[in-house]
């Protein structure tokens, strides 16, 4: 009888708290979104699975001696995993469109307005009872507006590890929602005539320019904003491996093995921050709201800057491409292409939107550096 009681007490059901139960459902929900709705499945599937694993009663998989806890300590607390992902992103990214038309960097800059507006928004939310975000917390939440997963994880792991779970979930969820969030904003802020603007074909870019680009970017970052050096450093290293043409096996490794393996482990480890105590709070609600806000503001700011550029260049620039400045590569650029095609069936904006799109990646890495420099004294 006693032994049956002992047995029962070692089961999960006997120890399940409502928080754990809810988080198991959240995990299943994320997996559902990843598989059925194809919401950024490469990350949301492992994150959702990690959420399940670390909310299994008694197992302690997310704790300091548990597998996910250890992976978190080794890979995320040190910042290594998001940096390795950035290495792979660099090796996968073609910056030709940006080099051919450097002015699109301004669009990538404008779209970061969402980040800084959200920073203020997060601080303002402290006026509402139940919210109490520190400056670090606010900065970490604001980066969701960068629409760049690894950057958000890197910054959150530095500035607000306890919010990392919610921030990562929000960042990837909204990135997946780009095709739903962006088009109405794009249409509201542009005229039919603007959306129909056909842009000139991009000039070809030489191999030497593509090799020099990452080095220039890295050196500029070293001179002006050392706080962004880890992120920009790994991005440019990946890109140099790709463009140098002399280390193909390293480039392929960064694009495949490294990014795949790290993605699995990174996703799982984020789960270790998806415990009920950390996630089921009013703060998470605030983060989700602020994230949507950040995305919308960033999109709007990008489009408005696109309108300014369009005027200044005598309608040579289609303002829609400004929306791609939020990053979310390549989804945002595809959305631009789609909205553009609605007006003019022969106006392919994809290549033109790639410039602001990759500029957005650089922009949010720079913004992350600024936030680190502002917040850490």
């Amino acid at each position: 009888m006693e032994s049956a009681l002992t047995l029962w007490q070692s089961t999960g059901i006997a120890n399940l708290t409502w928080r754990e139960l809810l988080m198991l459902l959240v995990g299943c929900g994320l997996i559902y979104l990843a598989i059925a709705k194809r919401f950024e499945p490469l990350l949301l599937l492992p994150i959702g699975f990690g959420a399940i694993l670390c909310n299994i009663p008694l197992a302690g998989i997310g704790g300091p001696d548990g597998m996910l806890g250890m992976i978190y300590a080794v890979g995320i607390e040190t910042g290594i995993f998001p940096l390795l992902i950035f290495l792979g992103v660099g090796a996968l990214t073609d910056f030709s469109a940006l080099i051919a038309r450097p002015s699109t960097l301004v669009l990538g800059a404008a779209a970061q307005f969402g980040i800084f507006a959200t920073l203020l928004g997060a601080l303002a939310l402290n006026l509402v009872p139940g919210f109490d975000f520190s400056l670090s917390d606010a900065a970490a939440i604001a980066i969701i507006g960068g629409a760049d997963g690894p950057t958000a994880i890197f910054l959150a792991s530095r500035l607000a590890p306890d919010l990392l779970g919610a921030i990562a979930v929000a960042a990837y969820s909204y990135m997946a929602l780009v095709p739903i969030i962006q088009p109405p904003i794009m249409r509201a802020l542009t005229t039919k005539a603007e959306r129909g603007i056909v842009m000139e074909q991009l000039r070809p870019v030489s191999r030497l320019e593509r090799i020099l680009f990452p080095l220039m970017l890295l050196l500029l970052c070293a001179m002006l904003l050392p706080a962004a050096a880890p992120l920009i450093g790994m991005l440019t290293l990946g890109n140099l491996l790709r463009e140098s043409g002399v280390v193909d096996r390293l480039s392929r490794s960064a694009q495949n093995e490294i990014i795949n393996v790290v993605t699995i482990l990174l996703g799982l480890a984020i789960g270790s921050k998806l415990s009920g105590e950390l996630f089921l709070t009013t703060q998470t609600l605030g983060i989700l709201i602020l994230g949507a806000f950040a995305f919308a503001i960033g999109t709007g700011a990008g489009v408005l800057m696109g309108k300014i550029m369009s005027r200044l260049t005598g309608r040579k620039v289609n303002p829609l491409i400004g929306a791609a400045g939020v990053s979310a590569v390549p989804m945002a650029a595809r959305v631009v292409n789609k909205v553009g095609l609605e007006e003019n069936h022969h106006n392919f904006l994809l290549m033109h939107a790639m410039g602001p799109n990759v500029a957005g990646v650089i922009g949010s890495a720079v913004a992350a550096g600024v936030l680190i420099a502002l917040v850490t004294p």
Partner: protein, 76 residues
């Protein structure tokens, strides 16, 4: 916030200037290069696919299909 966004803008504007100067320098002093190839060779963007000779393309398409079928049977 003003400072933050200002730094981001300044940084990217300087980068614009550097890239413009770089491209001019490369155009003037860089090695001659078969430029036509360089963009397409590395652009993985869909819709930008070059159109190779039609005959060649047909052979490739046939073999591609066969390889896909082969992989599907043997990968799983």
């Amino acid at each position: 916030m003003g400072i933050g966004l200002g730094v981001v803008f300044s940084f990217l504007l300087i980068l614009v200037a550097i890239l413009v100067l770089m491209s001019r320098a490369v155009a003037r002093w860089g090695p001659a290069e078969p430029l036509a190839q360089s963009l397409t060779a590395t652009a993985p963007v869909p819709g930008a696919d070059p159109v190779p000779g039609a005959g060649h393309a047909r052979v490739i398409a046939a073999i591609t299909a066969a390889i896909h079928a082969y992989r599907r049977r043997h990968a799983a």
